[in-house]
Structures are given as structure tokens and as C-alpha cells.
Amino acid sequence: MTAENWTLTIQTVVFHNEFEALLRAFKAAAHAASRAQSIALLSSWAIAWGDCSSSPTLTAEQLTELESIAGELGGDFTYTFFDSNLGSAAGHNRLAERSNDDFLLILNPDAEVSPTCIAILLETIQPGVGSVEARQLPLEHPKDYDASTLETVWSSTACLLTRRGTFREVGGFDEKTFFLYCDDVDYSWQLQLAGFRVLYQPAATVFHDKRLSVRGEWLATPSEEYYSAEAALLLAHKYSRPDLVKSLSKAFKSGSVEQKEALGEFSRRQQSGSLVTPVDSNHQVAQFVEGNYAKHRF
């Protein structure tokens, strides 16, 4: 495979997003892919959206508009209405199944790649590298990384490049376990268990529309709190940390409504025997550091 033959699918799972925000993200992705094509890193590219909303997000006119934008810049656009809220993990798996390209760029619907982002990610993903994550703006992710090797413990899928073959080799995202959060942490750890390196590339940037309160605090919605708590329990279980499951359960029992609900769902799965068999029993890849999944810089 040479650089001239590389092909890319940029895949996004949509869920009741505003069209204007989607359009900005779409244009940015198309522009960055087109630039990578112009310097012969890509031979072709496509943007694929999978819609988990209760009704189609795009009108026929909007669909035509997006196809036209992609076409003018040398790419393709496909839109699939799932007619079901599959969640992030399953949605991306469905989109990846339909791709025949060499690379997948997993991209959030509210994330706009910078013009050089895709080219830099492609240049960084050398053999043996499982995935490369772009640096988010304006809120940089706090997890630590090695500035010389770019290695990190896990990668966010806000903007993540991975090989489709590698994605298939490790079974994609664990949709049986994860609905919304920690599917990316799990994917990173699965890659490392399979012998791949996980990289963070600070020179590649993506503008991710996140906001803070006036005092600089993180603004979490109730659903974010619920899925975050649920994913924390599921991840601790999957990566052979019953001690953490126990301490999280104890904390959530007297926590917020969302945390109690998440604990209830975890207990239900536990009792029904639907939890996955734990892996990484020797704790080779998984890290649980002060409530995070890697050592943080701040």
C-alpha cells in the first residue's frame, strides 16, 4: 500500500444535532480531506454519517447540498438513517462495516478538524500504530502523553484515525458493553492488548465545541453523568478490577440520581449474566488513576 493509494472514510454518528453545526463540521472535514488528497496522501475519501435520531436529521435539500460540497472537493457523502438510537459504539461499528477504505476517521458531530489535521494524522499512523488522536481545542484533554514517542494510555474518539483492518482485527467498538462513553478507552486498550501503539498527536488539531461554566467548571448534562457512571462500572468490570467496581458501587449508592440509576443498570446486567468476561487480568494495559483512565497532566 502506498500513500497514493490510501483511502479514507470520515465517519460521524449524528443524534439530533443542529444542521448548522453539522454543516460547519462537514465543510471542515471535506476541506481537510481534500488537502490531504492534494498532497497525494489520499487517493479518495468519503464522509459517512449514521443518524441515530428519532427522525431523519437531513432534508432532501440538505442531503443534496452536502453531496454537492463533497463532490466539488473530490469526495463522496453517504447518509444512513438508522431509525434507532444505536449509541456511539454500535453506530460507528455499522458505519465501519460499510466502508471499504484503508482508514477510518472517527469524528464527533460537533468537531471541526483544522485544515492540516487529517494530513498530519495520516503521516503519524506508521506500521504498528493502532490509532492516532488529534489534540482538541479549545479544551485540551488533560491525559498525559510522551512528547517524543507520542504514546498515551488511551485516545478519545472525538477525532481519531485508525486503520479499518486494525479496527476489524480487534472487533471494533464493544457495543455489547458500551453505549456512549468509554467505548474509546476500551478500544485503545484492546489495541494495546493486540500489540498496537496508541498515539496522541498534538500537532493535529480539532475544534470541539465544548463549553465551561462562568467559573470554569465542566458542564455535564444528566445523561452525560448517567452514561459516564455506567461506563465507569462496566470498564472496571471488563478490565478485571472488582475492587474498583466495589468502591464505585459504594460511592454511587449514595451519589446522584443518575449514578444510582447507572448502578441499578449495572446490577441488573450483573444478575442477568450479560456482562462480558473480564480481560487484562494482569493489568498490562488498563490504568485507573484517581477516577481517570490515565495519569492526567492537570
Binding site: 465543510k27 492540516t116 500537532a203
Partner: protein
């Protein structure tokens, strides 16, 4: 650039000046005179036939990757109703080429709104004043080439301008520590090393701003009429504090509309020279003194509510003068309770120490 922001389309774009002037208890009406105020508001009212905002971005091209970040965050704005004046201050031909390469990487509908303007010599205020001579928008805001903004930076300024045309608009800004590192391609990179924190007053206070600037430059949008109608300019005699100087003067003349939103991050560079660190302590002190001297040399309009703040401060001073010490703080002030708790906690230890001392003296045959 037509005003096509759908999020803002429900808000009025024209102002009923007569209604505003007649119903207003705005002290600016008396201060400036109705005619000047009317012209100030007209020049600064968002309209369909001109861009809403001109972003003044000063650069010396020293941190190209940081400049790329700044432009990327502008590229991601929910409101694209702005133009960028990229003020290249004492920039070499090579650096200019590097800056052009960054700009040219963006799509044409964005780059067509970025105007590079070379500026030679002068202080930090020189590029700002050069840009002001060319501004055609309703509002002006500065964003330095190493700072970044949230997606609603322009949108929030515009909301404020539509609600209060002619006023200075203030949003909130966080500070994040950043340190330099080398990136894979040998370029000068960096990483954030702290969470964005907000050390500034949430609500604008003119009195507090007299003590110290509580508004990083990018947290303010100035009405263009302040410059085009009233002729204000940044003070080129100032080595630093040119932003604080204009915020104090502009805020007094136009009044301030506060947005309850955090929209920007000021990057505090650790361990390397920046425009902040390259100036000496003496330069900071002398600039501060000049700003205050200028304010003291002419009448100064206080914002609504400032009198109460001033009176409270004067009463505190009176109490302080009466006691001559900080005693009043312990009698009735905020430190009274902690002071009492502290002495209750340490008093057993004091008693034991005194008894031990007395015992020792007795053992030595001395009278306690």
C-alpha cells in the same frame, strides 16, 4: 458579510434611539450629549450591510503553531460575522511567508476575511491604532495570536451588541498555563499544564477595575463608535497596560454590558519569554501610573451602582483611620470568628506553657 446568523435572527437589529434617550437614565446621555451618543450608537449597531466584528490580532510570528490554534478557534465560531485584521508587527519576510502558509491552509470563505497588515515600529498599541483607521464593522475586539476562544466568542459579543448597542461588551475569560515542548516535526510546540481557571470578577465592576484589570483583552468588544465618533485611540506611550487603559476609558464613556458566559482562554506561558514577561517590573509600574494619572487628569463618569461601592470603601477607610490598626476587623469584621476560634484552640497550650515555666522557676528557687 451579511448578517445571516440564524441564532440571532429573532433579535432586533435596529434601535429606537428616541425611545432609548427619553426613557433612559443613562448617565452617558448627559455626559456625551444626545447627538454624540446617537452617533456612537449608530456606528456600533449591528446591521446587515457591514461585518459585526473586526478581530484585531497582533502577531510577531514567534509561535506559528499557537497562531494556527487561534485561527482554528475562529474558524469554528458559531457566528462567522467577522473579519480578522492580522497585524504583523515588525515581521520579517520569512516569518510573513510562514504566517501566509498558515492562513492559506484554511478554506477560501474564511481566508477571504483575514487581512494581513504589516506594521513597523512603535509599542504594542501601534498595530491596534493602525487597524482602527481601517475598521468598518460595528464592534472591535482583540485576540492575540497565542490565545484561543470558545465557539460562542463572536456570538456572545453580538448578542450583547444587539441588546445594548453602543456599550462595551464584556464576556468572561479563563487562564490556562501552557508550557513549550518540541513536536515530532521539530516545530516549536506546547502543552496545557493546568485546567482553565477564572480568576476574574464575574460581574464587571468599574471600581474594581481601577485597582487592577479584571478583563483580559479578548474578553471585551469595543463599540466602533468609540473610535470613529469619539476619536479614542490606544495610548502608544504605554509599554504595557494599553488594554486596561482603553477598558477603563471606554467603559466610563460607553457603559458595559456583561455577558454571563465564558468565551475565551488566555494562555499563560510558563518558562518562556512572552510580551508579558519581556517587560520589566518598572515598565509595568510606570505604565500603570500613567494610566491612572490620565484618568485623574479629567472628569470620570462612574457607572450605575459605583457610588455605593465607593461609599462602602470610604466607610471602611474611616473605620480603619479611627482605629489606626486592623483592630476593627477582629471586633466586628470577618476575622472575628476565626480569631476567637484560634485563641480558643491555642489557649490550653498557652496555659500549659505558663504552668511549666512557673514550675521550672519554682524548682530553681525563684519566686514565680
Amino acid at each position: 458579510m451579511p448578517n445571516t446568523d440564524s441564532k440571532l435572527s429573532g433579535l432586533p437589529l435596529a434601535l429606537d434611539f428616541e425611545l432609548m434617550l427619553s426613557a433612559s437614565n443613562d448617565p452617558s446621555v448627559t455626559w456625551l450629549g444626545a447627538e454624540l451618543l446617537r452617533n456612537l450608537v449608530i456606528a456600533s449597531t449591528p446591521s446587515l450591510d457591514k461585518p459585526f466584528l473586526t478581530v484585531l490580532m497582533r502577531t510577531q510570528g514567534k509561535r506559528i503553531n499557537a497562531l494556527r490554534d487561534s485561527l482554528t478557534t475562529l474558524y469554528g465560531q458559531t457566528s462567522q460575522d467577522f473579519v480578522v485584521f492580522l497585524m504583523e508587527h515588525d515581521v520579517s519576510i520569512e516569518t510573513d511567508a510562514a504566517i501566509s502558509e498558515v492562513i492559506d491552509s484554511f478554506p477560501q470563505d474564511f481566508t477571504s476575511r483575514i487581512h494581513k497588515i504589516p506594521v513597523q515600529g512603535g509599542s504594542r498599541a501601534r498595530p491596534l491604532n493602525t487597524a482602527l483607521n481601517m475598521v468598518e464593522s460595528s464592534y472591535v475586539a482583540a485576540l492575540d495570536d497565542d490565545d484561543i476562544v470558545f465557539a460562542n466568542w463572536v456570538e456572545e459579543f453580538k448578542r450583547g451588541a444587539i441588546e445594548s448597542p453602543g456599550r462595551m461588551i464584556r464576556a468572561l475569560c479563563a487562564v490556562q498555563k501552557v508550557q513549550s515542548e518540541e513536536w515530532f516535526n521539530g516545530t516549536r510546540g506546547f502543552r496545557a499544564i493546568s485546567w482553565p481557571e477564572v480568576p476574574y470578577e464575574i460581574e464587571y465592576s468599574q471600581i474594581e477595575h481601577l485597582r487592577v484589570n479584571q478583563s483580559p483583552f479578548m474578553s471585551i468588544a469595543f463599540p466602533t463608535g468609540l473610535f470613529t465618533v469619539l476619536g479614542e485611540r490606544f495610548d502608544e506611550e504605554l509599554a504595557v497596560c494599553e488594554d486596561w487603559d482603553m477598558i477603563l476609558r471606554g467603559g466610563a464613556i460607553c457603559g458595559v454590558h456583561q455577558r454571563p458566559t465564558l468565551t475565551a482562554i488566555y494562555r499563560n506561558w510558563v518558562g518562556i519569554e512572552t510580551s508579558y514577561t519581556q517587560h520589566s517590573f518598572d515598565e509595568w509600574r510606570s505604565s500603570e501610573a500613567r494610566v491612572l494619572r490620565k484618568l485623574a487628569s479629567r472628569p470620570f463618569l462612574l457607572e450605575v451602582g459605583a457610588i455605593e461601592e465607593l461609599r462602602t470603601l470610604v466607610l471602611h477607610k474611616e473605620t480603619l483611620d479611627a482605629y489606626g490598626t486592623y483592630d476593627f476587623m477582629f471586633r466586628n469584621g470577618v476575622l472575628r470568628l476565626p480569631f476567637r476560634i484560634f485563641f480558643r484552640a491555642v489557649s490550653p497550650a498557652i496555659r500549659l506553657t505558663v504552668r511549666a515555666r512557673n514550675l521550672l522557676r519554682r524548682l530553681r528557687g525563684r519566686k514565680p
